[in-house]
Structure formats: C-alpha cells, structure tokens
C-alpha cells in the first residue's frame, strides 16, 4: 500500500537503528502509549534491534485492555438479552468479563456481530426495526469521531432502535496519571499518532513542562516508530523535554477541526475507571445530554452487576510499566492468551500477550 510499504523499508530501518545506537549513551525508559505501536514493535521485532540501554515500556493505550470491567459486564448483560443485536469491533470479543466474554454470550444464542465500522451497526439497525441494535463504542480519541458521527446520524435520521454503549478514554490524562505515580519510571513518551491526527498536539506541551518529559508524536510503521524513538533519545541525551511531531504526514498541530466540533457536541468529559489502573478524573467521554436517549446504559437499565477481577491478575501494574509481565506469578501458567485472567493477556498488543509470545523464547537471531 502506498505511504505504508515505504515506511517498512529495511535499509532505512537499519540506518535509523544505527543512528539510535550512535547517539545512545545511557539507559532510558520510553513508553509508547498506543497499543497499535506496541503491536508494531513486537510484530517487527523492533525492541530486539534497539540498543539494550533503551527499554520500551508498553503503555495503557490499548482500549481493549483498559475498558472498565463494569462496562464489559454491562455489555455482556445487554448482549445476552433477547431481541438485542450487539455489534462490536473484533478486538472486544475475547475480553473476559467477570464470568465470560462476548463469544460465550454468542454461544448461548446471543446475537453478537463483528463489524468493521460503527456505521455498519446503524445499517443493521435500519434493516432490523424490530430489534434493539447496540454498538459497543470503545476506543481512544481516534475512534470517537466515528462513534460520534454514527450516533449523530442515528438521531438525525430518527433511528430509534439504535443505541451506543460508550466507554471512551483519553490519552493526555493517562499520561499525567502515569507520571503522577510515585513509582513511575517513564522518562519519555511516544504519543499516539492517530489520536493526534484527530485532536492535534496542543494538549501535550503542558505535560512536557509539568513532568519534564519529551513527548514525540509517533506513527505506526517500523520507520515511524524508529524515528519517534530516535528523536526521543536525542532529546533525552541533550536534556530537552519538548513536544515534537515525527508523524507530520498524518498529524498537524490543530488536528481535525470538523471532528473536534462533532466530539464537543456528542460527548462530554467524565471520570473514567481504567481497568487495572483505577479511576482517572476527567479521562473519559460519555454521551452529552442531547444524546442521552441513545445511550445504551440508560436505555437498558443494567442492575445487579457484580464485577470481580481475578485476584491473581496484575494487569494494572503491567499497564503502568511497574512490573514486566513475566514478573507476575500467573504469567504463562494460570494466565495465557488462551486462558487469560486479564485484558493485557487477551489483546494482541497487550504487554502480557506480547511477552508470552516472544519471551518464551530467547532468540536473538535466526
């Protein structure tokens, strides 16, 4: 694909890696915020190629991992109801709730469907007027515009049998929460490129200042990740802590004004519980009063939810970069990708799943 393949060029990657090695003189701990970046790093073996002084800490930028357990349990409750068509992105199907997951609901007759876009769920709603169609609206700022447009269209077109189960989370408050932790080891961040495509970069310079951390807006292809790391190390080595944009082809400082206007209309800020981390104030979005009628939590009063995390699971500490996955007692034994106790083992870019795959095997070259 054009503008994708070129950014995987192995020769240019080798140059970037050599450059990073040339400028690294000390140990640095860098957090890549976005799950998609974690996925890319693991997928291409990038962290094996970096100088060993650089430690990549996998951040909580994986909506699969951080969607609060309570919302998952609500989703399962709603999906199990007769007359409901529950639509979701594929990522969420295997996430364990307190008892089971959406696949389990499907196996017992629930109408659970994977869609590529939330608009597909709206189409299903229009085609099935006798059903209640619910879309599981999770994600960061990248996905929020799509969910916003969908519920905006539902309202505009009067599609009353459609509703959205919302659990949006925001990156900048998460960055702040991580830096506020007394045991924080993160010295710099690779900001999530596509989140910034939507929101722009204005929220980050204050964070750079307050916590004295470089933040580099980074893309997802191998060269983008390496360039993000290169610029981050350059800043760290020279004692700077600024915002830089290393993903200029898809990010500009103002972001996408049309999307931001829609987001301001459809959503309002709320406190959000991040699974494994806890409640971070003002770190999420919920539907604004004008759209409350389309809020699935209101339409289906879900009561009697008894959320119970596995007592053994230490996802939260992993998500904050406080422990490495293999330092958890359950890792690889009780907890594996096939039998996950927590979300970080379910998601393909959750840190635990990533470690399970490549740390089982200490191979440095084939």
């Amino acid at each position: 694909m054009k503008y994708l393949d070129e950014f995987s060029d192995p020769d240019l990657a080798a140059k970037l890696i050599a450059e990073i090695k040339a400028i690294t003189t000390r140990r640095w701990a860098i957090m890549e915020v976005c799950g998609g970046q974690t996925h890319s790093i693991i997928r291409h073996g990038i962290d094996q190629l970096l100088p060993e002084q650089i430690e990549m800490i996998h951040g909580p930028g994986c909506p699969v991992c951080v969607t609060p357990l309570e919302i998952i349990d609500k989703a399962l409750d709603i999906a199990a109801r007769p007359g409901v068509v529950f639509c979701s992105f594929g990522d969420m199907l295997r996430v364990p709730g307190s008892d089971e997951d959406l696949f389990g609901i499907k196996s017992r007759g629930g109408d659970v469907r994977v869609v590529y876009s939330p608009l597909d769920a709206l189409t299903i709603a229009k085609a099935n007027p006798d059903k209640q169609v619910v879309f599981f609206g999770i994600g960061f700022e990248t996905t929020a515009p799509a969910n916003a447009m969908t519920v905006f269209q539902a309202k505009r077109q009067g599609v009353e049998n459609f509703s959205l189960l919302v659990s949006h989370v925001l990156v900048p408050p998460a960055v702040a929460a991580i830096m506020e932790s007394p045991v924080c080891r993160v010295q710099a961040f690779l900001a999530a490129g596509h989140v910034c495509s939507v929101m722009g970069t204005d929220e980050y310079p204050p964070l750079c200042e307050r916590y004295r951390v470089p933040i580099v807006v980074t893309g997802f292809e191998p060269l983008d990740i390496l360039e993000g790391i290169r610029r981050t190390v350059a800043q760290l080595e020279s004692g700077r802590h600024e915002l830089e944009n290393a993903y200029t082809r898809a990010v500009c400082a103002e972001g996408n004004p049309a999307a931001k206007r829609m987001l301001a209309d459809v959503f309002e800020v709320t406190d959000r519980a991040w699974r494994g981390i806890g409640t971070i104030p003002s770190s999420g979005w919920r539907l604004s009063p004008a759209y409350r009628d389309y809020d699935a939590e209101h339409r289906f009063s879900v009561t009697g939810i008894h959320t119970e995390e596995s007592k053994v699971c230490r996802s939260g500490e992993v998500l904050q970069g406080l422990i490495k996955p293999h330092e958890c007692e359950a890792f690889g034994g009780q907890c594996t990708p096939r039998n996950p106790l927590g979300a970080t083992m379910v998601s393909s870019e959750g840190a635990c799943a990533a470690y399970y795959l490549y740390r089982r095997l200490e191979v440095t070259s084939v």
């Binding site: 240019l12 450059e19 909506p63 990248t142 447009m149 596509h194 495509s197 360039e227 996408n256």
Partner: protein, 94 residues
C-alpha cells in the same frame, strides 16, 4: 486504538446528507465516510480508521520524511566514528 491506513479517494457521493466515498487501498476498495475531511478531492490520500477518513495524508511531507531517512548516516560517513558525537553536540545534525 490506532489501526488507520492511507488510501486514495476514487469517488465521492452524498448519501442521506452524509459525504461518503470509495477509497482505494492499493487494489482493495472500501466505502469510507468523508464527513470529517470534506474538502478532500478525488485522487487525494486520506488516513482511514474504522470506515472514516480522520485526516488528510500530506504526500509532500511523506516524501520529505523518507528523504530525511535516506540522508541519515551521511554525516557519520563524513566524520567517521570518533567525530560523530562531537558533531552532534555541536548541533550539526541532519
């Protein structure tokens, strides 16, 4: 949160008051909502996430970035090992 891919707009149409398009991803075509990048034209590239264009892809910027990567390492060749760090500290970087 961020699987978004660049694609080229093949055609644009209005559907129920929403701007929709067909976008080509190197041979694979998909319907994409263009409402958030309304002045993107046929032939232009957009970044697409879950069926929505979320941003224009700046082609010039892409080419410049790639050119910068090509240029990396040139300095190392000119100055050789021992001078690399000194050169960087002096602010003489690509």
């Amino acid at each position: 949160m961020c699987l978004a891919v660049p694609g080229r707009i093949l055609r644009v149409e209005d559907r129920d008051g929403t701007l929709m398009s067909v976008v080509d991803f190197g041979g694979v075509q998909k319907e994409v909502c263009l409402q958030y990048v309304p002045d993107a034209d046929v032939g232009e590239y957009v970044v697409v996430h879950v069926g929505f264009a979320i941003q224009r892809l700046d082609e010039e910027s892409a080419m410049r970035t790639l050119a910068e990567f090509e240029h990396l390492g040139v300095l190392a060749e000119e100055f050789g090992d021992g001078f690399e760090i000194a050169a960087r500290q002096a602010g003489v970087t690509s």
